[in-house]
């Protein structure tokens, strides 16, 4: 295995350890909820970063996939009484299937046209969530979704759900790293650079694009089903156009191609509004301003910013060490 792969795996290990140890340090349950939401958003954002950052495609409809997973499992488990484990699988399955159906024609489009097509698809789904009241409960939401239970184990406490969701996030990130370090990952980067050149090298670009689109939608669907059973209540407002935009912002703010960066972007954008809640009325204003400033001063995202900061500190340390050495020598010279 390559050096990069080992480095990524080490990072993933460290990340999981930190998040495993985090809950006892949190003073109340509210913070645990925020942390769980961070993990769910990170799951969707990581999937999207595969599509946007690595394959160079775009989707402004991922909130729709997230919602599709949530509503499918909600309707199956609550209305039809299907066991939760089965309905969750169905939720992810339906999301992937729909993504394949939409992706097949849509991925022929490029750039802004692809953005529009996925955006339109997201808007259509969001209207369906709102209007098919007998299935989804309409704008007032879907209540009474059973809590998570898998293989006869019921995840009754918030803490147990958190650990489950963290484990799934770990799995998603592990899968993503494996995809990126495989032949598929190289093919995606090739078609990002130039579709024609990739094609000339014998890469079946249509198939790879569809594959990564479906994978990324499946991650969103997976996050969606977990979300539905975690909160036991869903409403269409959570799955609208603005959430799709927010997901893209997480990816770009994270630094486009970096999985750790994307996760940092997702955590940052999920925690920020909670943190800004203290400012009440100016909350949205501050959120917009911080977003603008971040993009202006961190053009390569949180990942690039932290890399630069690291390099700067390193340089400072090296310079200081050299200077100390020089001073020491000068001192010795003076004495002698």
């Amino acid at each position: 295995m390559s050096v990069g792969y080992r480095r990524d795996m080490r990072w993933l290990g460290g990340f999981l350890v930190v998040l495993l140890l985090a809950p006892p340090l949190l003073s109340n349950n509210y913070y645990l909820t925020v942390l769980t939401m961070c993990c769910l958003n990170a799951m969707t954002a990581v999937g999207l970063s595969l599509l946007v950052g690595h394959a160079g495609q775009i989707s402004l409809g991922h909130a729709g996939f997230y919602g599709l997973g949530a509503y499918t499992t909600a309707a199956l488990s609550t209305t039809l009484g299907v066991p939760v484990g089965l309905s969750m699988c169905a939720g992810v399955g339906v999301t992937s299937g729909v993504a394949a159906l939409v992706g097949l024609p849509a991925l022929k489009l490029k750039g802004h046209y692809l953005a529009m097509a996925t955006l339109g698809f997201g808007v259509i789904l969001s209207i369906l969530f709102n209007e098919t009241v007998e299935v989804t409960g309409g704008p007032s939401g879907f209540t009474g979704i059973p809590r998570l239970s898998l293989f006869g184990v019921e995840f009754s406490s918030d803490l147990s759900v958190y650990y489950l969701i963290l484990a799934v996030l770990g799995l998603v990130v592990w899968l993503s790293f494996n995809i990126l370090h495989s032949r598929v990952g190289r093919a995606l980067r090739a078609l990002h650079t130039s579709e024609k050149a990739a094609q000339a090298m014998g890469i079946d670009i249509a198939r790879y694009k569809l594959f990564i689109f479906v994978v990324s939608a499946a991650f969103a669907g997976l996050a969606g089903v977990l979300y539905a059973h975690y909160l036991t209540f869903i409403a269409p407002a959570s799955f609208g156009f603005l959430f799709s935009v927010q997901l893209i912002v997480m990816v770009v703010l994270g630094g486009m191609t970096s999985v750790p960066g994307t996760i940092a972007g997702a955590f940052f954008l999920t925690v920020l509004p909670e943190f800004l809640r203290a400012f009440e009325n100016v909350e949205i204003l501050l959120f917009g301003a911080i977003l603008i400033l971040c993009m202006m001063y961190l053009p390569d995202g949180l990942a690039g910013g932290s890399r630069r900061l690291g390099r700067l500190l390193w340089k400072k340390m090296v310079v200081r060490a050299a200077k100390d050495e020089a001073d020491a020598e000068a001192g010795e010279g003076g004495n002698g």
Binding site: P105, A106, K108, L109, K110, H112, Y113, A115, M116, A117, L119, G120, F121, V123, I124, I127, L128, N130, E131, S194, K196, A197, F241, L242, V245, I248, V249, V252, L253, M256, N281, V282, E283, I284, L285, F287, G288, A289, L291, I292, M295, M296, P299
Partner: protein, 293 residues
């Protein structure tokens, strides 16, 4: 269906479509000089409507003056957005600039909410609201205003781009910024100008639509979406396509609302848009761009 109601839906669709077209024009102008999609375009439209209401009710100005001030104010905001948030980072990848415009739109929306609250406001119609009978359909005087002013703006822009030196310089920038700079065109100034014109066109659209559809701090999101859809429908970068795309989108929506269901009117418009994109991947009037490898 009878003819009168068909005509009625057509008129409604054209009226709303005209403002979609104006929003789409705003997108196109900025896209052509910078290559970015300005997500704050819908906010410019919102500002046009909301500031008109504000100047009229809070300051007691007569309506025409209030609208002129609102349009001027929005144009100024457009200029500020370019100077403060876009120009300092002009060399960043396009996606970063797009995210910045998303930030700007959140900021403007937040400021509007803070200043004017979450209420819905109405602007009085420009010349009364007694409907005019027109082949069995009712024609509101405001509809005529909307169509006339939209046409005027279109004609004005056409003149600007084909006759004036600034317009030609902007066109040059849209073809090739580097070559434009080489022949002595200040590309930076043209980008600033494009933001101002976009804001102006958007604000006019917002002000003339406000008497028909009411306005509030958050109307920009949906209008922006529709404007972007209209651009894509017509073929991105083509001003004529943008205007036509807006009208087509408006009429489709209105017919969908009338004959199928008003709840699904937006969904219907987007379904048709998707279907069209799958058949014509670069919009109705867009050119297929051959990119060299």
């Amino acid at each position: 269906m009878d003819q009168a109601s068909l005509l009625q839906y057509l008129i409604t669709g054209l009226t709303v479509g005209a403002t979609y077209g104006l929003t789409a024009l705003g997108f196109t102008i900025i896209f052509n000089t910078t290559g970015i999609i300005n997500f704050a375009q819908g906010e410019f439209v919102m500002l046009g409507g909301m500031m008109s209401v504000f100047f009229m009710h809070a300051l007691g100005l007569p309506e025409p003056l209030a609208i002129v001030l609102a349009v001027a104010g929005t144009t100024l905001i457009g200029a500020l957005v370019e100077r403060l948030a876009i120009r300092p980072v002009r060399d960043c990848p396009a996606i970063n600039l797009v995210i910045i415009t998303i930030g700007v739109s959140i900021l403007i929306r937040g400021a509007a909410m803070l200043l004017w609250g979450k209420d819905t406001f109405a602007l009085p119609a420009f010349s009364g609201s007694a409907p005019i009978a027109f082949f069995g359909a009712a024609l509101m005087p405001q509809t005529l205003w909307v169509l006339a002013i939209s046409l005027l703006i279109l004609a004005g822009l056409k003149m600007f781009f084909s006759r004036s030196i600034h317009g030609k310089a902007m066109l040059a920038c849209s073809f090739d910024p580097k070559a434009a700079a080489l022949v002595g065109i200040g590309v930076d100034r043209m980008v600033l100008l494009s933001f101002m014109i976009s804001a102006l066109v958007g604000a006019v659209g917002g002000a003339i639509l406000a008497p028909i559809t009411l306005t509030s701090f958050d109307v920009g999101v949906m209008l922006g979406l529709k404007g972007f859809a209209a651009c894509i429908l017509g073929g991105l970068g083509n001003p004529f396509g943008a205007a036509a795309g807006g009208l087509i989108l408006g009429v489709l929506e209105s017919l969908g609302a009338g004959f199928i269901s008003s709840a699904y009117k937006d969904a219907l418009a987007f379904v048709i848009l998707l279907a069209l994109l799958f058949v014509r991947p670069s919009g109705l009037f867009g050119q297929k761009d051959g990119k060299r490898v």
